[in-house]
Every structure is written in structure tokens, then in C-alpha cells.
């Protein structure tokens, strides 16, 4: 049995437990906030000592997070329906998320309205959590007899503020949080291979927008003060997504690789010009050759070409895409590839212009006369390549 095969078999059934991603995000934000609080506390303590003021903890008074939504007048077209509000609070009070250790009695419906999926209510409540000495605000959406989601909003930290009701034709309830909300579905790809999106501004009523969209249309939501342009892929504003979409791993498409491979012996400098990107292909996203909604791809093949230019190949939306740069980092052009098909021998074959050869790659094989690991820049005119995989040799026509 091959070692790799044995290791893969041993881990084949391993997957993260449900809720793992949410726990990581919550824990990470908590840790980050704790760090900020510790710095703030240290500064406050220093200031207190300097001025001779003793800092004391507050007493056993009922606690409040001080969020304006806890006492705001209820908005939405069901704001005057006491029965709806009472029902929503009764559902809300039956659920307390894991990080919460204590709740205040100030749960308050700050928005309730009819949506295409029926009545829904947004609720805020002061809570105590393990990670912080100060009360924080729990915000969430109630729909029918369910709490769709709850989010602990740490003081000063970012609030996601978007909820999705339903799986097919879905209703998105989005908080404006003092900014404008734009959304877009179904990106289109032009003849220049660049994606664009038609942005619509969501109407906010009482600071909340209700948007109807299909998750499979890859709707993207932005909270921003600036109107995004159709070709804006630089993430102007803040992209927001419901937690169930963040936690739901996107379907595995394309090659599923996750590494940087070099097709040439020359590998320095690692990136063209002064690029500070972690992956060179991040530049392609900024230029609109990749869309927000497509899963993040973590592989690329790099090469320094005989004429001094730099090439990178990756995939987007199931298709290979390459790009050429001058050595100083100036973008030259994009080079389209075919479909990225997993399981095909040498799945990456990108013919470069100007007689610079063909970039070929197969992550689990040794390629070409130099037996390069994973990738090789084949000279122009190469019609076949020898590959070695698991000790077996194969000649693959190009």
C-alpha cells in the first residue's frame, strides 16, 4: 500500500464538526476584542493611577449593554402588533447561544415586519459572555417559531447583521447599521473575460432591508457608503453574508488543489514587481477576472518565462485562467484556459502566447524530462509529456 494512499484513507472520513467555522469566527473575534479590551483597560488603569482615581467594578444593578436598539422605538409594518412582538419574544427567550452566560431582562423587538416568507422580528438583548467583563449585545432574527440566527455583537467589533430565511427562493433581512446596502445576483462575464455585476441598492425601512434572492444566484451584499461600480471587485465597503452561507462549505469544484507550484527552475523573485499579495492570482480578482461569489481557490502555478515576463495560472468558476506580467509587475494580459477537470491526466495545460511554451501541471505527479514536481513549462512544440505518478510512468499527449 502506498503511504500517501494509506494516509488519505486514514483521514477520508474526517470532517470538522457542525458549527466549527462559527465557533472559530466567534472565538477569533472574542480573542481579538479581549486583546483590544486589555489594551484599553491598561490605558485606563494607567490614566486612573496617574490621576489618583480608583477604578471600581459596577455593582449588582441590572446590566445593560447600552446599545441604542435596546430602547429604540420598534419599526416595521408590524410594529403596532403587540401579539406578534409577544410571540417573537417568547420564541427568543427560549434560546440562548453558547457563549452567553447570563441574560438581562431587556430583550426588545426593534424591528418587525411582514416578509415574503411571513412575519419576522429583529431582537436585541443585553447579555454577559465569558470572554468579556462588560455586557454585550445579542442581536438576532425570529421567524415564526424559529430563531433564525443570533449574533453576539461585541462593543466596537464588526456586526454581520444579515440573516437568511429559507433555502430556495430566500429572504434576506439586512441591517443598514448607518450605511447603505447594495446587492447583486448572477455576475455576467464579458467578451474580455471580465466579470461584472449589476448592483441594486436595497431599500432600508427603519434601518432594515428585505431582499428576495436565490442563493444559487450567488447574491453578494455590500454594506457601504459608496455606490459600487459594475466592475468593482475590490470589495468597496464590507461584504456581508448570512452565517449559514459562511459556514456552509462551497461545493468542491475544479481541481481542489491548495498549493503554489513552480513550472520553472527560476523562482526568484516569487512575485512580479512589488506585489504584496499572498497569491499572485489575487490581482486577477481585483481586475474582475474572478468574481466575489466563486469559491476561493488556493492554488496557482507560477513561471518566469524565457522573454523575462512572469506567468501565473489558476482557476475560477471551474475554468483555468492565466495571466502575464512584466517583470516590474505591470499587468500584460489574461490568457484563457479550458475547463479545470479533476481526474484528467495533466489537467492544467495553458498555451502561452508569443512562443513562450505551455504551462502544464498535475499536482500529484513528476513531469517532463526534469521530473519537476507538479508543474513544468514545456517548450514550444512539445506534443507529449512523460509523467510519473505513484512510481508508474505514463506518456500523455498534449
Amino acid at each position: 500500500m502506498e503511504l500517501k494512499e494509506a494516509l488519505e484513507a486514514a483521514t477520508a472520513d474526517l470532517d470538522v464538526r457542525p458549527g466549527f467555522v462559527g465557533d472559530v469566527m466567534a472565538g477569533a473575534r472574542r480573542r481579538h476584542t479581549r486583546k483590544l479590551l486589555a489594551i484599553t483597560a491598561a490605558v485606563a488603569l494607567l490614566a486612573g493611577v496617574t490621576t489618583g482615581v480608583m477604578l471600581t467594578r459596577s455593582s449588582t444593578e441590572p446590566f445593560t449593554a447600552g446599545d441604542a436598539r435596546l430602547t429604540a422605538a420598534t419599526t416595521g409594518d408590524l410594529a403596532d402588533r403587540g401579539d406578534v412582538i409577544e410571540q417573537a419574544l417568547s420564541v427568543w427567550n427560549g434560546k440562548r447561544p453558547v457563549p452567553v452566560t447570563d441574560v438581562s431582562s431587556d430583550a426588545h423587538v426593534f424591528w418587525t415586519a411582514n416578509t415574503p416568507d411571513g412575519p419576522a422580528a429583529l431582537i436585541a438583548q443585553s447579555v454577559r459572555v465569558k470572554a468579556s467583563a462588560e455586557p454585550q449585545t445579542l442581536v438576532g432574527l425570529v421567524h415564526g417559531a424559529d430563531v433564525v440566527d443570533q449574533e453576539v455583537v461585541y462593543r466596537g467589533a464588526r456586526e454581520q447583521g444579515i440573516y437568511r430565511i429559507g433555502d430556495g427562493e430566500a429572504t434576506y433581512v439586512v441591517l443598514g447599521l448607518g450605511e447603505r446596502v447594495f446587492w447583486s445576483a448572477n455576475p455576467t462575464r464579458g467578451p474580455d473575460l471580465r466579470y461584472s455585476r449589476a448592483w441594486q441598492e436595497a431599500e432600508l425601512h427603519g434601518g432594515v432591508a428585505v431582499v428576495r434572492a436565490k442563493p444559487e444566484e450567488t447574491p453578494v451584499f455590500l454594506r457601504t457608503t459608496i455606490v459600487p461600480a459594475a466592475d468593482d471587485f475590490t470589495r468597496v465597503g464590507e461584504r456581508i453574508a448570512p452565517r449559514q452561507e459562511i459556514e456552509q462549505a462551497p461545493p468542491r469544484t475544479g481541481l481542489g488543489w491548495s498549493s503554489v507550484m513552480w513550472a520553472t527552475s527560476r523562482q526568484e523573485p516569487g512575485k512580479p514587481g512589488q506585489s504584496q499579495d499572498k497569491l499572485v492570482s489575487e490581482d486577477l480578482r481585483r481586475r474582475g477576472y474572478m468574481d466575489y461569489g466563486h469559491p476561493l481557490v488556493l492554488w496557482e502555478v507560477r513561471a518566469w518565462l524565457p522573454d523575462g515576463r512572469y506567468a501565473v495560472v489558476t482557476e475560477t468558476n471551474g475554468e483555468l485562467i492565466g495571466a502575464l506580467y512584466q517583470a516590474d509587475g505591470t499587468f500584460d494580459r489574461v490568457v484563457p484556459g479550458g475547463p479545470a477537470v479533476r481526474g484528467r491526466p495533466v489537467p492544467v495545460r495553458l498555451v502561452l502566447p508569443d512562443g513562450q511554451g505551455t504551462i502544464i501541471a498535475d499536482r500529484n505527479a513528476l513531469l517532463g524530462p526534469e521530473e519537476r514536481e507538479g508543474a513544468w513549462l514545456a517548450p514550444p512544440g512539445t506534443t507529449q509529456v512523460t509523467i510519473w505518478r505513484s512510481g508508474d510512468q505514463e506518456v500523455v499527449p498534449l
Binding site: A6, L7, E8, G27, A28, E238, E247, P250, S259, K278
Partner: protein, 162 residues
Amino acid sequence: MQDFEDFVALRSQALLRTAYLLCGGDRDAAEDILQDVLMSMYGKWRRIRTSPEAYARTALANAAANRWRRRSRKPEAPLELGAVPTSRGHEQQVVDADSVVRALAELPKKMRAVLVLRFFDDLSEAETARTLGCGIGTVKSQTSRGLARMRELMGEQVLTWN
């Protein structure tokens, strides 16, 4: 930090598998160190200059090594490799998978990490050296000794590699 969330959602499964092998088959420990590594990456996300996956792998290897140091102070149950059936059906594959993890758990931490990164994560010798912060020579020698040791531990279940 949407890209961080994307990264966590997309790569957690693959990283958990690496962590599981680095921890010698301790699933709970693997999940613990992965969660810890990912949470620590959040605050540094904008400053990570390598690929995030490479960064996470390095952090996992360090975390697994530190965990091993802590655990190594306690006595551990002796490794008992089961008898090897002669047929090679699905059950045999399960036995192989189980015993390869147990054999891996017997290796010194660095040797184990080298084998996991080279043969499971498919890193090159140079990438493995960078990940573990050691020289390529160390990677070569640890690979060679590690494979030999695996063969000893796996007995008749001869492993091959290329």
C-alpha cells in the same frame, strides 16, 4: 475579514486532516489545535505574507510539536499493532489506515511532521523545510529514517512511496 471567513470555511477540513496526522491520530487534539491556530490567525490576517495555508500548516506543526512536548511527560499506552489479515479487501484497507496512523504516532514529532507534509500534503523538500524551519538536509534525512521506521512498525504491511 470576509476572506478570512472564506479561508476558514473552505480549508478547515483539509487542515483538520493534516492536524489529525500531526497529532498521531488524536482527533480531539487535532480539532483543538486547529481551532486555536485559526483563531490566532484572525488578528494577524492582514499581516500574513505567505500563503495562509502555508502559514496555518507551520502553526499546526508547531502546535502539534508543543502538544507533544507536554504530553510526552506523561506515560503513554504502548503501541500494539494488530495481526495482519492476509486478504486485501475493504477491511484490510481499514486495518491499513488504522495501523498507519498508529505507526505514525510512534515517530518522533519532527520525523512525523516531515512525513505528513511530504506524503500527505505533497509539499516539496524545500517547502517542508520552510514550513518546519529546518534545512533541506534535515528533511531528507528525517524522510529517509521516517520511512524506514514506518516499515519496521508496519511489519508485513509494506508501504511504498515515490
